[in-house]
């Protein structure tokens, strides 16, 4: 096995640092792009995995998180629509009611689910639990937290969490999904209904006055609907809209398109960040490697005077370039990861994550640095071996 000391000749420290800075920049920008991509893709995956239904007059961005009332009779009507597999009543409340409710993908939410009903989202049949367990049928007073929600409050399994003056025991923490569920506190449906009742003065008055024909089972902000295998989800959604009065149905395909359109700016930004990272990292790396080779032009002149062939020199230089590129790449990745971890640690307090160092990004950065380093070294070598040994020695003097 070739030792790093042999691959990395003496005097290459600044070359390695130069490459590390370039690769570090590329990885940091790439990690930000990865984070945004995963967020957008996650949201898209989520909306394509279910048909979301809310009370009439309320859109997904508003009514689905408090305000929209989807009564039990409507849920029953939805269950009877052809093509519908399961309907999961939900209560979705913003954790902080004063926060704008438009940004449902970024704000912290309380999600009430009935664990006895299977998850209706085809992309998330089970939410991945990192520690503890998910909700079980019959649970009360317990919560399962999204990873960012838990991390920003330093909560873990066994901790206690106060939501709307009601105390919950944390029984599980989800794995990172890098999309909406990371900021969820998931509680049993009946607990969520109780929290809603406590918060909404209108509902309190309605129920204090006897509630008429309304029962607690009517307290749903929405429902997640899944379709039977082979059914067209958009067609099923349109059928629900046509057959069940008083509901607002989101068509998965349309919502996905709307999401894509609304995130077009981010997509362009991603492209810009990626291109910028490639240009900055690539220029820095290739310039550093070729400068390091040209700097040693005198040494190559001496070696040619000692009988080195073009091929021997190329092999030697490529070996060195590989050593410095891999070392610089690894140091750069380490540098970016360290800075990213520090920044992530800081923004985690606000429930955010800025960088995502995915394996594909790290592998790309390493391959990119090796390939570009080799190309730059080859270019410099081809330029040098064209010179006579005497000329190379003169130029390097």
């Amino acid at each position: 096995m070739v030792s790093l000391g042999r691959l990395l000749p003496r005097g290459y420290l600044f070359t390695v640092l130069g490459i590390a800075v370039g690769v570090g920049g590329l990885v940091a920008l790439g990690a930000m792009a990865e984070r945004i991509t995963r967020f957008i893709d996650g949201g898209d995956r989520f909306v394509l995995g279910q048909i979301s239904v809310a009370g009439e007059g309320m859109g997904m961005g508003t009514g689905f998180t408090a305000g929209g009332l989807l009564r039990a009779s409507r849920i029953e009507a939805i269950r009877r629509v052809a093509g519908v597999a399961t309907v999961q009543p939900q209560v979705m409340l913003p954790l902080n009611p004063t926060t704008s409710q438009f940004l449902t993908l970024t704000q912290e939410l309380i999600l009430g689910l009935d664990p006895a009903v299977p998850m209706s989202n085809r992309q998330y049949r089970e939410l991945p639990v990192r520690s503890g367990r998910f909700l079980r049928a019959g649970d009360r007073g317990v919560a399962v937290l999204g990873s960012d929600f838990a991390a920003s409050r330093r909560l873990g399994t066994g901790s206690r969490l106060d939501l709307g003056r009601k105390s919950f025991e944390v029984v599980g923490v989800l794995d990172k999904t890098l999309t909406a569920p990371d900021r969820f506190a998931i509680v049993p449906l009946d607990d969520a209904r109780e929290l809603w009742l406590r918060r909404d003065p209108l509902l309190v008055q309605v129920f204090a006055g006897g509630a008429g024909t309304m029962s607690r089972a009517d307290l749903n902000t929405g429902a997640a609907v899944s379709w039977i295998d082979g059914a067209d989800p958009d067609a099923v959604a349109r059928r629900i809209q046509a057959e069940v009065p008083g509901v607002n149905v989101t068509i998965p395909g349309e919502l996905s398109r709307l999401l894509r359109e609304s995130t077009a700016f981010f997509s362009a930004l991603l492209f810009g960040i990626g291109a910028l990272g490639l240009v900055i990292g690539g220029l820095s790396l290739s310039n550093t490697v070729s400068a390091a080779v040209f700097e040693r032009i005198r040494d190559f002149g001496i070696k040619r005077a000692l009988g080195a062939t073009d091929l021997q020199l190329l092999r030697e230089i490529l070996g060195e370039a590989l050593g410095v590129s891999v070392t610089g790449g690894v140091v750069g990745i380490g540098l970016a990861a360290a800075i990213g971890a520090l920044v992530n640690l800081r923004v985690l307090r606000q429930g955010q994550q800025l960088f995502l160092f995915s394996p594909r990004l790290l592998a790309f950065a390493l391959v990119f640095s090796v390939v570009l380093g080799a190309l730059a070294a080859t270019y410099a070598t081809v330029r040098i071996v064209r010179l006579s040994p005497a000329e190379a020695i003169r130029r390097g003097a």
């Binding site: 000749p9 003496r10 005097g11 005198r298 040494d299 001496i302 070696k303 040619r304 005077a305 000692l306 009988g307 080195a308 062939t309 073009d310 021997q312 006579s388 040994p389 005497a390 000329e391 020695i393 003097a397």
Partner: protein, 230 residues
Amino acid sequence: MLIRAVGVSKTYRGPDGQPVSALEGVDVEVKPGEFVAVAGPSGCGKSTLLNLLGLLEPPDRGEIWFDDVCVTRLSRRAQCPVRGRSIGYVFQSFLLISGLTALDNVLLAARYVGRPRREALPVAEALMERLGVAHRRAHYPAQLSGGEQQRVAYCRAVLNAPPLVLADEPTGNLDEGHAAVILAELRELCRARGAAVILVTHRADAAALADRALRLRAGRLDTRGGAESP
């Protein structure tokens, strides 16, 4: 004849882009075991002649013959083993590689001719011992004095026992004591090993050690007053 230059000429571009003739139609012959000094004023083409003889750069006109082979007609690739096996170089500025130790600098001469390190190592160590630099084998050039660097460079030049050694002002940066060591080694190389040495020098005492001296003036051999005796 070991090496023969026939009508070699070399022209460089000056700083103003105008051609500057460094050598013009020079003929030189050197026999095995011969010690030849090349003398002349600065800029007369001494180093250029050495570079052409050592295949460090091609002549614009003329031919270089090594034994019975016209080496200037060889391909770039075919010239490499001639440089590596048949010619040793000692330069005024030592030209050691700063990132390698003294021992590795010496062994570099073996690397490019395909000579195994384990075979060259005892030879290199014996040479360094004889030249008094064995205790500095693990030092880098920057940690060596000028005299030590030149002795290491000399060891590298003769490691492969080349039949021809070219020395370009090898004592130019040395004090009297170190210069005498290098000159004595070059002289001994001819006597004991039968190698030919071509020495470029300004020093009269160095030229006096040679079997004969060639005098260059403005890129041409100066034959006035008999160029063949030191």
